[in-house]
Each structure stands twice: as structure tokens, then as C-alpha cells.
Symmetry: C2
């Protein structure tokens, strides 16, 4: 390899990828599956993935136990994840001191989508995958969705299909590769590696897998509980392919100002989250079937027994976190001189590694505010209710079914005029080009905002 | 404010800043102080900042005590910092399991340099500041160097000068604002806000402060123990002003490949660092004057009594971490098609928030390897020794004198030809444009690499 040929033009490849994605998003029909065949494939996969999920008492969990000294819920192997307590002090939001259970899973897994050209049109390899926590069993998932325990084979199951595409990608084939956080209210410091990798014709769709155009994936994103959280976060890490918003457009604020805003919010917030034993977690009680808050709000930790024909392991049991109430995550979009900007909120969630990430305009579960005064409700929640009828996107989506039981939120995108005053330094209008750049670096947009970015781009 | 005038061109401002910095780096004489006056000012400041630092037993520390249950060293106010233990498992480096004391200071402070134009030439407001741990008392520091305890006035001292320039910068005046880590072997999750802000003529140099051109600052960077660590890290966050290396140049690897490399190293390393009590930290012993390793290597925790006429508080006592031996941090630079690239190592240091950051080609204290086999020594250390005579930069510099006692390292930049094979996936050649971009986002280059980038740019 001579120095000359080794030199890569770092911009050229990116433009090519955007053009290819734009072509795939506009492709009239699927090159591999027609829309009719896609619908039939989904129906078929749903039929052939029988999965029985049954609530069981913790005592019947196989390999899981409450540690005697702390009350923490752990797996005997030390793998998977643990549930312990968290003592939080935070100046973000209406409550400043609380304790809660939290999922601790320090390993970094891989969420990856393989992309491949068919007749010049880029296709994404999507998986039909059942997860025990899903309200409807099967959802559309990334090519690979592997915890480190998974791919290091802690549970002794079969190898994860397509894993090598992501662990050993060919030179120049990586489109995106970035660590992104997951729910900071339920996970402690959790992040996964979000990857998109180009593959060649040697990679074929196995059982439960299908090559879809970006238009087809975008179409599925418009349906309730169909594209799972892991797929959505990876999709958000694709370079934005919309030429009208990612060209050399201007932004309301300079990139430096946006970065400075994030830095300031991180530096000035006072958030301390200290791990504690689950047994000593104040206001949370354990009965044979669940660990719940005395108020009945927030969430419970539950246990399920799973029988499935389609997983690395055919039958297992595990704990899941079950939110109480349906969440709402809403994004305001406003045009400034023709360029759409999104209204993001700098959120301090207790489990974030870096204090603050940018979330949707509104992100909450309304029921959790019922005991609080009206003024404690999140800013813009009333505006979301008023304008929701005119939303350009309003879909019920699930959080990750491998950790969360029946966890659904309404994801809503609303176009607004410019009569939306900013209520505090927590909010800022950010352009799509800036979102695109922030998503290339870790921990800038939280998982709910990433879902909304994927949803917005799909329109 | 109409939408049209509100639109900021996010690229224009950046180019202007680079041009202004290039002008300042090339300015023949200082616009404010001549080089002769600068030398006189430094000599004068050193004379007028008498500081007595005396080792004392821990028992004589005012406000500091070893906590009974844990043995942790803490301040009675809960402010400043604490020293506790850390139990580390790591697959980076030759030792895989160890315990050590660590400084825990979760607050984010501000390190800021104000810049202002005089007769069209950009000047930096630098401070002559004594720190108890410095080998030579006074060093050249940023405009502001404030822990949160400092500026929230935990210690009841006087207000931090110029702080408002950074806490409330004028719109559009921020040049850089990014959280950066500090020594991951000595600090747990420590980071500071690195800021550069443009100010107007209303900001004047007070006592102990001087306006210097970038050429003058760069000149001072060539002198032993003169520009302190805090100044160096902020300087590294300046946009790279060298037109020959930051234009639309090519790089050996695409930006996506470099980001993917960092993500991969973070995902694949296995590092766990668990806080433990200082008293239970294995192989470390406490006597009345220090906490030290049984081998005599690594570092000690010591206590000092300080009398100073020039600080927010005139007299105080505090613990300091005292490294044993002089460190070395070396950076290889190699031209690829005329574009210089630096050889960075993906390092997992126990205190990093995000597992891995990019460090110098070589970073170590040789004495710590004396009990280990030769093969355990860091890659390229022998090459650094062989080529050090031809180094283009070789200066003895101090780490932060507010936390570290007599902590010095040789910082060395060596230009190499292309006969340097990469020994593992831990190493990669990165272009200056890529370094520039990585430094706009948090936690990509460690503090030693940032010093070397500032040093390299100064040449």
C-alpha cells in the first residue's frame, strides 16, 4: 500500500452514502420484496414465531436471585444485567431527591444494520424478532442485536448470525459506528454500539431476515409497534439523506453555540446518582411477583418465563422492567428561512454517563405527574395536547422488549409556527445538519430523541 | 430579531477565528507587551508571589480527615475533592488487576482563556499563578481556573476574577467550549470545561494578568515548567490555525474510520473500576505523612501547608498526589503525502468516563516498569529513546499544581519517516484536521495528548 493510494477523501464517501440512501428512500418498489410480499413476510414471521410469555414469581426465575446482603437482583453467571437501587439528587425536573431501582448492564452490545446494493438500490437487512417484553411478540429489528453476553456466549446459546459483519467489517465499509445511550431513567450508564456496515453479495438474508429499501423501512416506521427500539436508534445514526435539509444550509445557531449550550448544561446541572442496595431503596417494596413503588406509579420490576422457538436459547426466564402508563415523546419542528429545525430539551436523566443529553421537546409519562401541582408538569405538554390533532407523525412504539415489558410511548412530531417562545436555557432549536453531526459522536441525543429523528426523516 | 438576521453561518465564524489565530501566531512582536517586557513581567510576578509550601502530617491538615468507616480522605465541607480507593480490572497494559488510591472530584470546573483584539491582533489573557504543587511556584495559567467549589465560594474566599466572561459570554463570542478529561490514572471521571471566549475592550488585564499574542504563548510553551497544564489543555481546544494542515486536506483514514476505531476500542475493552475504601486498598499503606505503595513506586498521597499572598484564600492546607519518577509523553509525527499525521494510542485508563481516550504514542513513567519483564514495556518506548536526540520538541512540563506535587513529564515530539509499523489496533495515524474535529467533542484526546497537540502546534 503506497501512501498515495492509502489516502482517503473523508468527505467523498459520505456524499455517496447520502445519495445512495436518498435513492433507497425514493425507490418506487422494493428491489427484493414488493410491498405486498413484505406484508406477507411480516404476517408469516409473526405466525412462525410462537412465543409464550408468562409472569412468574421471582422465586421461579432460573439462575436469577436476590443477593442476600443487598437485595440486588442478579444472575448467577454474573452476566446479563443486574437490578440494584439508585439514590438520586438532581436539580432537573420537579422532584429533587428520590430513590429507584435501576438496570445495571455495563457491557457494550452491538446493534447493527447491514446494507447492500441490489440493482444499484441500497437495501437494509432487517430481522423479524420476538422479544418477551413486546406487546405483540415479533417486531422488526436490526440485523444484529447482541449484548456482549450474547456474543461472548455467556448463556451457551448458538452463535449470533451476521455478527462478523460488524465485528470484522471490511475496510471502508463502515457507514456509522457510534456508542449511544439508552433510557437514562431506567438504565445506569447503559450504551450500545450503533453500527451500519456495507456488505457484499456474499451476505444473504437467512430465515427471519429480509432486505428492505429505506422507503419500506420508513413505511414500517409509520405503523404502531412494528419497528423496534434497537432498529430505530440505528436508523437515526444513518447520515441524513434529505438533500433539502443537509446541504450547505444555515442554522439558527452556530455549531459552536450548540456545542457550548450542551457543555454549559452539563457543567451547571447538579446531579448525583449513587448506587445503593435494592433492598434499601426507599419507597419501593418487593412482593413475590414484583418490586413496585408505594404510589403504584413509575414502574415495577417483574419476572417472566419465556418459551420461544426462534432464539439462541429456546426457553428461559428473566426479569423485565414494566413501566406504568403510556409515555409520550413529542418533537416540535419549525421552519427558519425554509430550513426545518427541531426543538430539543437538554435533559439530565439519572443514568446518563455525561449528566445531560438532548431529548425531545416533551418526554414524560403523564400519570407520574398526577400527584404534583400543574406547574410541575413538563413545559410544552399542554401545547402538545392542543396541537396533537395536526401532528405529522403520531405512532405508538415500544421500548426494547428484551428489558422492558409492555413499554409503549406515543411518538409525535408536530410542525409549529414560530409562536413558540423558549421557556428556559434547557431548550434550543437545532438544525437537521447539526443533529446529523451530533449523532456521529456519542451521547448527544437520547434514545427517545433518536427515535423521533428516525420518525421525522421517514416522513 | 427576525429569522433572517438570526441565521448564523456556522462555517464563516470558524474560518475568521483561524485567520485571526494565524495572524496572532505570526505577529512579530506583542502588541501589548514586547518579548522583553514579557520576560520582565514573568520575573516580576515570580518575585511578587511568595509561596511557602511545607509538608505536614495528615493530622495537621485543616478541615481534612480520614473518614472512620472507609479511611477515605475528605474535606469536612464535602467540597473540594476526596481520595478513596479504586479496584481495577483491565485488559489494557501489562497488569490486569490492581488497587490504588484515586482523586474523586465529580464537579465540573471552568478552565477559560479570554481573547481580545489589540490593533487587529488577537491576544490571550494569561495569568501568572502559583500552585502549591508546582516545582517552581508560579506558572502561566489560563485567565480563569476555577473549580465549582471555587466559584460557588465553598471556601468563602474572594470572587474568581473574569469568571463572568465565561459563565455569561456574549452571544457569538464563544470560540470553544468543551468538557475534557484529566489524568485517568489519578482522577476518577474528572473533567473540566475548557473554554475560549472573545471579549471586548471593557476587559482589561488586572494584576497577575497579561495579554499575550499566540506567538508569545507558543514561545513560552518551549520553556521548561512555564505554561501550566490547565493552560495547555485550553490551548489545545483552539481551532488549529495552521493553514497547511487544516485546509481541505486528505487523511490516511476517513473520519468515519477514525470514529469507528475509537468506538471499537471502547466497546471491546474490558475495564471495570469499582470505588472502595482507601483503608482497604490493597498494597497501599498509610503513615502520618503519606499513603504509599508497598513497592515505593507509582505515587503517594501527601499533605502540605500553604501560605500565599495571591490566592482567594491566603493560607490553607490540602492533600496532593505526588508521582514517583518523571513521566514521558511522546508523540510521533509522520508526513503522508505532505500532510503530517500524529500516531495516537487508544488508551484505557481506569478513571476515564468512557473507557478509552486517545493518548500520545508513548505515555508512561519508566520506573513503574522496572519490576516487569522487558516485553511488558509500552510499545515504541525504545524507538522514543533512540530518536529522542532528533526531537523537534522536548520540554519538561508540570501537571496541575493544585492537585499534584512535583509532577513532571518530558513532553517530546519526534518526526519519523514511514518505517514505523503499527503494532496493534491500539495505534492509528490521525491527521491534524481530524484531531481538530475530535477536540470539539468531549473525551476523545486525553490530557497528555492535548498537551502534545498544543506543543506541536507551537512549533
Amino acid at each position: 500500500m503506497t501512501p498515495t493510494t492509502a489516502l482517503a477523501s473523508s468527505r467523498g464517501g459520505k456524499a455517496d452514502t447520502r445519495t445512495a440512501l436518498a435513492g433507497s428512500a425514493a425507490a418506487v418498489d422494493g428491489g427484493v420484496l414488493s410491498d405486498v410480499e413484505l406484508a406477507a413476510w411480516l404476517a408469516d414471521r409473526r405466525r412462525t414465531q410462537p412465543q409464550q410469555v408468562e409472569r412468574v414469581p421471582f422465586a421461579e426465575l432460573d439462575g436469577w436471585r436476590f443477593e442476600e446482603s443487598t437485595g440486588d437482583l442478579r444472575h448467577a453467571s454474573g452476566g446479563f444485567f443486574a437490578v440494584h437501587g439508585l439514590r438520586v439528587r438532581s436539580d432537573f425536573g420537579p422532584v429533587s431527591v428520590w430513590e429507584q431501582p435501576v438496570i445495571d448492564q455495563p457491557e457494550i452490545g452491538i446493534l447493527g444494520i447491514a446494507v447492500r446494493d441490489f440493482d444499484g438500490v441500497t437495501h437494509l437487512l432487517m430481522q423479524a424478532k420476538s422479544e418477551p417484553g413486546n406487546v405483540n411478540g415479533m417486531q422488526v429489528s436490526p440485523t444484529v442485536q447482541a449484548t456482549k453476553s450474547n456474543y461472548m456466549r455467556v448463556h451457551g446459546g448458538s452463535a449470533v448470525k451476521y455478527l462478523d459483519c460488524f465485528r470484522r467489517p471490511a475496510p471502508g465499509s463502515v457507514v456509522a459506528d457510534v456508542l449511544q445511550s439508552e433510557q437514562g431513567s431506567w438504565f445506569l450508564g447503559k450504551r450500545n454500539r450503533n453500527m451500519i456496515v456495507r456488505v457484499g453479495p456474499e451476505v444473504e438474508a437467512g430465515e427471519d431476515f429480509a432486505w428492505l429499501t429505506l422507503r419500506q423501512v420508513n413505511m414500517l416506521l409509520g405503523q404502531d409497534n412494528l419497528v423496534n427500539m434497537d432498529a430505530r436508534t440505528v436508523l437515526s445514526c444513518l447520515p441524513d439523506w434529505r438533500p433539502d435539509v443537509t446541504g450547505p444550509t444555515t442554522s439558527l445557531h452556530s455549531d459552536t453555540e450548540i456545542r457550548s449550550w450542551i457543555t454549559r448544561r452539563r457543567a451547571e446541572h447538579e446531579v448525583r446518582a449513587v448506587p445503593i442496595g435494592l433492598a434499601e431503596t426507599k419507597d419501593w417494596h418487593r412482593d413475590p411477583y414484583s418490586v413496585s413503588h408505594v404510589s403504584g406509579r413509575h414502574f415495577s420490576v417483574a419476572a417472566v418465563d419465556v418459551v420461544s422457538g426462534r432464539r439462541e436459547v429456546a426457553a428461559w426466564s428473566q426479569p423485565l422492567l414494566e413501566p406504568h402508563g403510556t409515555g409520550i415523546a413529542a418533537l416540535f419542528v419549525r421552519r427558519v428561512d425554509g430550513v426545518p429545525h427541531v426543538l430539543l430539551r437538554a435533559r439530565a436523566e439519572a443514568g446518563f454517563l455525561s449528566v445531560v443529553e438532548l431529548g425531545p421537546t416533551v418526554q414524560c409519562t403523564e400519570e407520574n405527574y398526577e400527584d404534583l401541582p400543574h406547574a410541575a408538569r413538563p413545559p410544552y405538554l399542554d401545547e402538545v395536547r392542543e396541537r396533537r390533532e395536526s401532528a405529522v407523525y403520531d405512532v405508538l412504539l415500544s421500548e426494547e422488549g428484551g428489558r422492558f415489558l409492555n413499554a409503549q410511548s406515543h411518538y409525535v412530531v408536530i410542525e409549529v409556527d414560530d409562536n413558540i417562545p423558549l421557556v428556559s436555557d434547557e431548550f434550543q432549536w437545532v438544525s437537521p445538519r447539526q443533529v446529523d453531526e451530533l449523532l456521529r459522536y456519542s451521547h448527544h441525543l437520547n434514545v427517545q430523541a433518536r427515535t423521533l429523528i428516525a420518525a421525522w426523516r421517514s416522513l
